[in-house]
């Protein structure tokens, strides 16, 4: 045990004392809010500075009577089509909208003349404006007055309340859960890959620098492997913790900065309304932010943090041992590639399952299986955490994960102890199997 601790310390210090670690640890949390801040700033500036798009309208039908909006200014032209076109060419207006005489049932022949290709967004905006207008006209045709019309439009906002067995009611917001599940799942995926690779590279380095023979004359290969895996895990956890703290500090500072400036904030809200789908916009009626924040407060934060840390470590240990075995088997990084894909495959499957099954329907049977099987559960179950999976499933999944990493560690250790002393041998799966069966 004492020796595992020594190796753990050495591996940890080696990495933490590197300049690259320091730079990555400090820069990443600054870069992300900076990028978001800059993007937000540019967007706000653009919205503020945006002038209304001027569209000339030649309406031969006389029915449309388009009213100018925040974003579009409509100028009615009373000349014939050819004259209007020549006039438009000499103006600096965005477009000329030509509306011929048409029947309400078949509005054909509406044409937009522009100098440059209009963006999809502008086309859609204009189409929906026209559609809305025709819609109104049709209603009028059927003698439905505007008041009746207004009373027909209802905004429905489903308040979702989870009823747990204890009878406590929790407010939940599926959209917020989706985002949380998405972020947690991706974090685990990235962490396992990045630090798993670190283990592999560390083992290859020890092997190629030939130091390993000296080390294993002092410690057992298993101790060396475990000390290395745990040491790198500690590096990852420390880095992650620092990131979380720095990101929350910098983003709250950034939010404060934006919050102080009222017009900008309004613009931001406007932006969020425009960006989201109509359904989402409907869900975020009077004060969407407070509602989402309330949802997050309702979540059992402690349980999510604990379970996230559990899968974070469990997934890492499960895959880390396999990466260590690959590092021990090969002589160079290039050689390792043939073994990397089969190891990463279940992780990638878990990653896709997160999008395809878990987030759209966290309680389906596919979601259940992905979050139970140890190789996919770190990504899959973490995606479900926010949706409050049944306790028994959580416990089953965690027990299997512990079993899973004990199994992979055992398997990896058997390959590792032989592999680290082998140089220049051509390694394939048959050779690995032979090493696995070999006696001490």
């Amino acid at each position: 045990m004492n020796k595992i601790w020594l190796i753990f310390q050495r591996e940890f210090l080696n990495r933490v004392q590197k300049k690259s670690f320091l730079i990555a640890t400090i820069l990443v949390p600054l870069i992300f809010p900076a990028i978001i801040g800059v993007m937000g700033y540019i967007f706000v500036k653009q919205e503020e500075g945006a002038t209304r798009t001027v569209v000339e309208v030649r309406d031969e039908s006389g029915k449309m009577q388009l009213e100018s909006t925040d974003r579009y200014e409509f100028i009615n032209i009373d000349a014939d089509k050819e004259q209007a076109k020549t006039a438009f060419k000499n103006s600096d207006h965005f477009a000329l909208l030509y509306i011929p005489n048409f029947e309400l049932s078949s509005p054909d022949g509406i044409t937009l003349y522009t100098r440059e290709n209009p963006s999809i967004r502008k086309m859609e905006d204009l189409e929906s404006l026209l559609e809305g207008r025709i819609h109104d006209l049709k209603l009028q045709q059927f003698n439905i007055d505007k008041e009746t019309l207004k009373s027909l439009k209802t905004s429905v906002d489903i308040n979702n309340i989870n009823v747990s067995e204890e009878g406590a009611e929790k407010q939940s917001n599926t959209q917020a859960m989706y985002v949380l599940g998405f972020i947690l799942g991706i974090l685990i995926y990235i962490f396992v890959l990045v630090y798993g690779m670190q283990i592999m590279l560390g083992v290859i380095e020890e092997k190629t620098s030939k130091i390993v023979e000296v080390i294993v004359s002092s410690v057992r290969p298993f101790q060396l492997m475990l000390g290395k895996i745990l040491g790198i895990a500690a590096v990852g956890l420390v880095q992650f913790a620092i990131w979380m703290i720095l990101i929350s500090v910098t983003s709250s500072a950034a939010l404060n900065f934006i919050g102080m400036d009222m017009p900008q904030k309004q613009a931001m809200e406007q932006m969020s309304k425009q960006v989201n789908d109509p359904e989402v916009a409907a869900a975020m009626t009077d004060n969407p932010m407070t509602k989402i924040l309330a949802t997050y407060e309702e979540l059992n934060v402690m349980s999510i943090v604990f379970n996230f840390a559990f899968y974070f470590l469990g997934g890492y240990l499960l895959y880390g041992a396999l990466f260590a075995a690959v590092g021990a088997a090969v002589d160079s990084q290039q050689e390792a590639q043939q073994f990397n894909l089969p190891i990463m495959l279940p992780l990638i499957i878990g990653y896709f399952a997160l999008f395809m099954f878990i987030l759209p329907d966290p309680h389906s049977s596919a979601s259940f299986w992905f979050s139970i099987i140890p190789f996919t559960s770190p990504v899959a179950m973490v995606g479900r955490l926010a949706f409050d999976p049944p306790l028994w499933q959580l416990i089953l999944s965690q027990v299997l994960l512990v079993g899973g990493f004990i199994f992979t560690t055992w398997l990896a250790a058997r390959i590792y102890r032989v592999g680290i002393l082998m140089h220049g041998s051509k390694v394939n799966y048959k050779v690995l199997a032979k090493w696995f069966m070999m006696k001490g």
């Binding site: 620098s209 030939k210 000296v214 004359s217 002393l421 006696k439 001490g440």
Partner: protein, 314 residues
């Protein structure tokens, strides 16, 4: 008490047997040469002693005790394939390796400082190993082998990679360690090393030990009444008591002959007989060098070795 006693040590791999019932007796405070051609099983044996791998059969005792985890600190091992952590500083490296051998941190710091001064590397303490020259890195590696004061030191080809000056330094260090009571096992191909330093030797070939004993004993065993004679004027033996193995002319009318007594006659009788037929200038017994014994045993080509005799030790 023996520093190491091995009985019937056997290691089998799926395709071949690496060690086949090897017995070794390594006396305490000796320098013991473990010889053998490449692939004979020396590295396997050394790895078993270092508990890097386990023997399938057999029994190993270190200073009377069965080999166990405790002996990690008792043994110092310098593998043939040298290696250190390239990115780690010299000082930290030595402290780490000593701690792995079981020293406390304070002891490890103290010992590594002592040794680094002794080898004139003090100014390199804070430098990374990758900045060191190959010779310096070798010295650091040697320090890491002996700094925890092991009673049994195993050196696999210790002089490879050293220039003559550093090789001399290491030789002196080895002799000093022997004086302090350490037992040293050499695994080597270099016969001059064996000739100069070893008291005892064992020869391993094709997984089996084929020879073991003190250097003196071994040489005694392999001398075979052969004498080197420098003489003026050639001769040819007519009687059946002697065998003329070779006769080579040197300058003028001088010759050097290799003569073996084939029966019970004494060397004195040979000299007497020789003086009658030629002018003897020198007469010396040909004691086989370790190199000759080695080649003879490994290849089995007895005649060839003696035919190519040259008196100066290579």
């Amino acid at each position: 008490m023996e520093a190491l006693l091995a009985k019937g040590v056997t290691k089998r791999y799926t395709s071949h047997t690496a060690l086949d019932r090897v017995d070794l007796t390594i006396p305490e405070k000796s320098i013991y040469g473990l010889l053998g051609p490449n692939g004979a099983g020396k590295t396997t044996l050394i790895r078993i002693i270092n508990q890097i791998i386990n023997a399938d059969e057999g029994d190993i005792r270190i200073f009377g005790e069965p080999l166990n985890q405790k002996h990690i600190g008792t043994i110092g091992y310098l593998p043939e394939e040298r290696g250190l952590y390239k990115k780690l500083k010299v000082g930290e490296q030595l402290i780490y390796l000593a701690q792995l051998k079981g020293l406390s941190r304070t002891e490890a710091i103290e010992k590594s400082k002592y040794w680094i001064k002794k080898f004139d590397l003090a100014e390199w303490w804070g430098k990374k190993v990758e900045d060191l020259s190959k010779g310096m890195a070798q010295k650091v590696q040697f320090i890491s082998t002996v700094m925890h004061e092991p009673r049994l030191i195993i050196l696999d080809e210790p002089f490879s990679g050293f220039d003559p000056v550093n090789a001399q330094l290491i030789t002196e260090e080895i002799l000093e360690l022997k004086q302090k009571g350490c037992t040293i096992i050499f695994s080597t191909h270099r016969m001059e090393t064996v000739e100069d330093l070893c008291d005892h030797i064992a020869l391993i070939d094709k997984s089996k030990k084929i020879l073991e004993g003190s250097k003196k004993q071994v040489k005694e065993e392999y001398r075979n009444n052969t004498f080197v004679v420098d003489h003026k004027g050639s001769f040819n033996f007519l009687n059946g008591h002697y065998e003329l193995i070779s006769q080579k002319p040197s300058e003028d009318d001088y010759f050097r002959s290799l003569v073996r007594i084939t029966d019970e006659r004494s060397p004195n009788q040979l000299i007497r007989d020789l003086t009658e037929i030629t002018e003897v200038h020198s007469f010396v017994e040909k004691i086989p060098t370790m190199s000759e014994i080695f080649i003879r045993l490994v290849t089995g080509e007895n005649q060839k070795v003696f035919a190519n005799y040259s008196p100066a030790k290579s």
